[in-house]
């Protein structure tokens, strides 16, 4: 393999991700296009958000605007053109451009998912490594049982149980929302207030992934511990902690980060449900409201934007990869 400079590899990586991003946007936009036309009923009515009860003038305008009388190929081309210009249509229910509705909610969703993702990765791998190093101990058994149970828990139910315990019974944490309203807070108090509101949604969202990463990290550590280079390191006389930190962790992390990247889509899906539970003002909440009103332009836009969020999370795992596995920088992997 040709040894590439680090900057060049980052460039290549970014290029391949951008290519992936464009491909995914086009495929999903095409899918959305097909879905609206495959849905039962008139596409104009589907776009308007309600079948049967729509204003005929609006339907006529919609047909004209989207060229619904033209051949499908022409419609698709014009639709893709709109998507590329970030025109995701108009919500006739909320009387606003879909892209505005989404961009307004996106930061709250990103805050929730990225925090949960990083925490799950950090705590999950730490706990998994501890369990793996102490394989067979009581600690290990407790972790294993706990992760099995978490893995079987519906994420929205876990959220509700946290509300039941920490808000209803103990009264420690706010049961829902993003911030305390109608109070004057200093900037620092405001940040702490948001953090307090985040504890339960982030915990419930991160828990299941934490369990997955912990289990993976545990078996990964056990596997790495049996390999020759660890025996060599011991034979060289290196101490326990320096072997763990210098040799084992990096190698054991690789499969965990791979899976973390693959789970990003599921994490974002989980955020949609969790936001519904906690009335978190992000895209999940918007999805729920749009579902109640069958507001298709909004649902289609959310699907597209959340797919992009997943790819961004994948990019994040790529960067973590590069940090832990130096081979990635040579372009050999």
């Amino acid at each position: 393999m040709i040894r590439l400079g680090s900057a060049a590899t980052i460039g290549l990586m970014a290029l391949s991700r951008i290519a992936q991003l464009v491909a995914v946007i086009l495929v999903i936009a095409t899918f959305n296009f097909v879905l609206v036309r495959a849905a039962p009923g008139d596409p104009a009515q589907v776009m308007a958000g309600q079948s049967g009860a729509s204003d005929p003038k609006l339907l006529e305008d919609l047909r004209k605007e989207y060229g619904l009388d033209k051949p499908y190929a022409v419609q698709l081309a014009s639709y893709l053109g709109r998507v590329v210009r970030l025109d995701l249509g108009y919500s006739y229910r909320q009387r606003r451009a879909v892209v505005d509705l989404i961009l307004e909610r996106l930061p709250a969703t990103l805050l929730l998912t990225v925090t949960a993702f990083c925490l799950a990765l950090l705590i999950g791998t730490t706990l998994g490594a501890l369990a793996g190093l102490a394989a067979g101990s009581v600690l290990d058994t407790v972790f294993t049982v706990l992760s099995l149970v978490l893995y079987a828990t519906p994420v929205f139910w876990l959220g509700l149980m946290l509300v039941l315990v920490f808000s209803v019974t103990l009264g420690w944490l706010p049961p829902f929302g993003y911030e305390t309203i109608n109070v004057k807070l200093s900037p620092l108090e405001h940040v702490l207030d948001i953090a307090k509101h985040m504890i339960m949604p982030v915990t419930s969202l991160a828990a299941i992934y934490l369990a997955i990463y912990a289990r993976l990290m545990r078996s990964s550590i056990i596997e790495v511990a049996q390999q020759d280079f660890i025996k060599t390191a011991r034979a060289k006389g290196l101490s326990g902690p320096s072997i763990v930190v210098g040799h084992m962790l990096r190698n054991a992390l690789v499969p965990v980060v791979t899976v973390a990247g693959m789970q990003a889509g599921a994490l974002v899906g989980g955020a949609v449900v969790i936001e519904t539970v906690f009335a978190w003002p992000g895209l999940g909440r918007l999805t729920f409201d749009a579902l109640l009103q069958r507001d298709y332009p909004v649902l289609l836009g959310i699907f597209l934007i959340l797919s992009i969020v997943v790819i961004v999370l994948n990019l994040l795992t790529d960067l973590i990869y590069r940090l832990i596995d130096p081979r990635m920088t040579t372009g050999a992997a």
């Binding site: 999903i28 519906p154 509300v163 209803v168």
Partner: protein, 277 residues
Amino acid sequence: MDAARAFLRHPSGMVGLVVLLVVVVIALIAPIVFPVSPWEMVSAPFTPPGEDGLLLGGDTLGRDVAAGVAYGARVSLVIGIASAMAAMVIGVTIGAISGYFGGKVDLVLMRVTELFQTIPAFVLAILLVATFNPSLLTIILTIGAVSWPPLARLTRAEFLRLRNREFVEAALCQGEGTLQIVLGHILPNAISPILVVTSLTVATAILLESALSFMGLGDPNLMSWGFMIGAGRTVIRNAWWMSVFPGLAILITVLAINLFGEGLSDVLNPRVSRRRS
């Protein structure tokens, strides 16, 4: 038979199997134990558990939570199993074509599989069910349509491993057709890991269904666990039992299926099992 005997000696696998059988029995006898439909009012609203003859309490309309949990088992099991089957059919077909033919076909099919693994499956499921209106069939097909990628990848890997084996070449020499070789020779040799992953897919399908019905996208005619939790969400301060019991039912069922599936995996394919765990 050896496998069955080995499974009997697998402690966590057996726990999973026994619990799962209990859930199946509850699902089967629900109409006998609770002859009144779970949608019918049988007591005052918000009856706490244990009062008025209601073991798990009553909901906002005085419907029996225990009856809902029992009938919900039917919905969860049917949807879980049927959609895992649908995922298996899609995944095995795509994986088999990809692994057997290789080359450009493989390249294209694997890109499609990757795309399905990248996009947020739950959001896609929401979109599909909302578009085609929630019913038992659309929910099953939707969950199948978003759950197949791991099965496709597994089947592809098994086909890549097996397609150059002597028994396949022997069948080729005897002039057997492609379909005959794939279905008659390769697939039977790849079936045990496929069955293991399918059984674990039942668990994720049940979780997915519960999340969909929690969001209000369940079949409106069927009492399901996710729907019950969704209905109990807003009244959790007054009636914790409305959301606690259906959630426990999901947790126990999914845990049992996972334990059973992992036991099955240890017994049927120690090779795959070691790689996975």
